[in-house]
Symmetry: C2
Subunit: 283 residues, 2 copies
Amino acid sequence: METRELRYFVTVAEELHFGRAAQRLGITQPPLSRAIHQLERRLGAALLDRTSRTVTLTEAGTVLLAEGRAVLEAVEAAERRTRRAALPPTGRPGLVLVTKASASRELLAKLLDAYAAEPAAVPIDVTLCGPAEQERLLREGRADVALLHRPFDSTAGFHTEELSTEGQVVVLPAGHPLTVRPHVHMADVSGLPGLPLPRWPEPDGTYPPGPGPQVRDHAQLLQLVALGRACAVSPESCRTQLPDDLAAVPVLDAPKVTTVIAWPPHSRSRAVADLVRTATSLR
Amino acid sequence: METRELRYFVTVAEELHFGRAAQRLGITQPPLSRAIHQLERRLGAALLDRTSRTVTLTEAGTVLLAEGRAVLEAVEAAERRTRRAALPPTGRPGLVLVTKASASRELLAKLLDAYAAEPAAVPIDVTLCGPAEQERLLREGRADVALLHRPFDSTAGFHTEELSTEGQVVVLPAGHPLTVRPHVHMADVSGLPGLPLPRWPEPDGTYPPGPGPQVRDHAQLLQLVALGRACAVSPESCRTQLPDDLAAVPVLDAPKVTTVIAWPPHSRSRAVADLVRTATSLR
DNA sequence: CCGGATCAATACCTGGAAGGTATCGTTGCC
DNA sequence: GGCAACGATACCTTCCAGGTATTGATCCGG
């Protein structure tokens, strides 16, 4: 299977219309029909059910659509990573690390310091972004390593090493009645009047329905908490970054949060390997 | 990048010799040279350093070798999964599940029973194989789901859900002095005279150096323990399958073993999704 | 029920690229 | 210094990707 055939098939499968697919691909319809036929013949499998009016995916076509998208993504990532590896060493970031703005600064600082002391250390670019972004950057080959937080972030498809585990706290406006308690439970915070838990975007960018404000990043969230419009359940390491007008109380039965260092499989370069080793030896 | 170009490059990178690579590819050397040049031109990156005597990989070439292999594997898996999805439903296994022969029969039986009760259940083929095999089958698209054991098996690159966690026991010949103890520690069993811990093969099929017999599967291992040539540290669920001539003693400080259900990303079919849901609801 | 519109398939042609053969230029080595 | 090994280059041929024109089937409005 050539990537060209896969691109053709994925496009047709997405459009379910040969004419539009051909237009998107910048070719005409007849060669596209032929290419799909040839692909079906070679696979020995019907991928599309076509009448002269409608096109639908067969079971096999559904499988190939998912697989094909993954392959095409992998090809693009391969190109990008290869190109980046070829840039002249001067000016090229040795490694790109992505993490959330809300991640523990302490852990990150310790990691960067320890790695910088390595004999073969290369410069590290740190990119801060939201959770959905991280995964995408890593998958697309624009970043080399990420610090992710289980169970919130999906680590599917990556190699990971656990770095640390911590409990969670609920972040409240200073002076809130709950802040005098030494600790609380999820039941205490899930239905606070006037202080709903916020909604985070799904991987596809949409928000789940429900009450609670929509937030994109941690700064927005803290702002909302300070304004008394929401409360937040966050890893306890965020306490060191809280302004005076916010308070945090441990939530005993909140799921533990594990910070992991993640990197794409198959691309464990010397630098990534060194960084991962440094990270795990910090533990 | 076309998969043909990737196949060419990966072959040359493996052989580090255009002539041999061309032979392996079933073409002649000149088109191969040209194809690699064209790939380099399009990527804007030198992949190989060639003198008229030697060929070596550049940094970018090393990256593309790793990435390219992954892409080619993904393409092959995509073909296989598509072909399997196209087989006539009769006779085709709905799902192929791989697990180790040593895995808990209880858990597996419960899972299969519970899934069979689902309204949309499809027949399940169970394949038993060694740990290294499992990963390969799943990655190559010959299997749909696997029961893996962390931290022994690598779950990198797969989606997983945790099913159960258990401690480990040391398996000894019946009558061994340690068998009278209610529990032991790793230190007690790591240096038992005449009963070394066995060596398992690495993913590449080689064995790490050291004392202890080489084993490929659990049956071999139990045989060796029964013969008094080794002892084994195994998940405690194996106790239900022990013959009379073997005894097991809990090892308090052995790492906990987590059984996870794993499946390849991007191919979460209806049947796999159902099975995973069934598995997690058993918990 | 008919004619037009829509859309995939087919027929046929052309240019370019993939692959082959022959040869050259460089380099290591006896 | 001459030979052998090996990648690059030159040149040719074949085949296939892609284009244009057309057919054939289906839906729809009148």
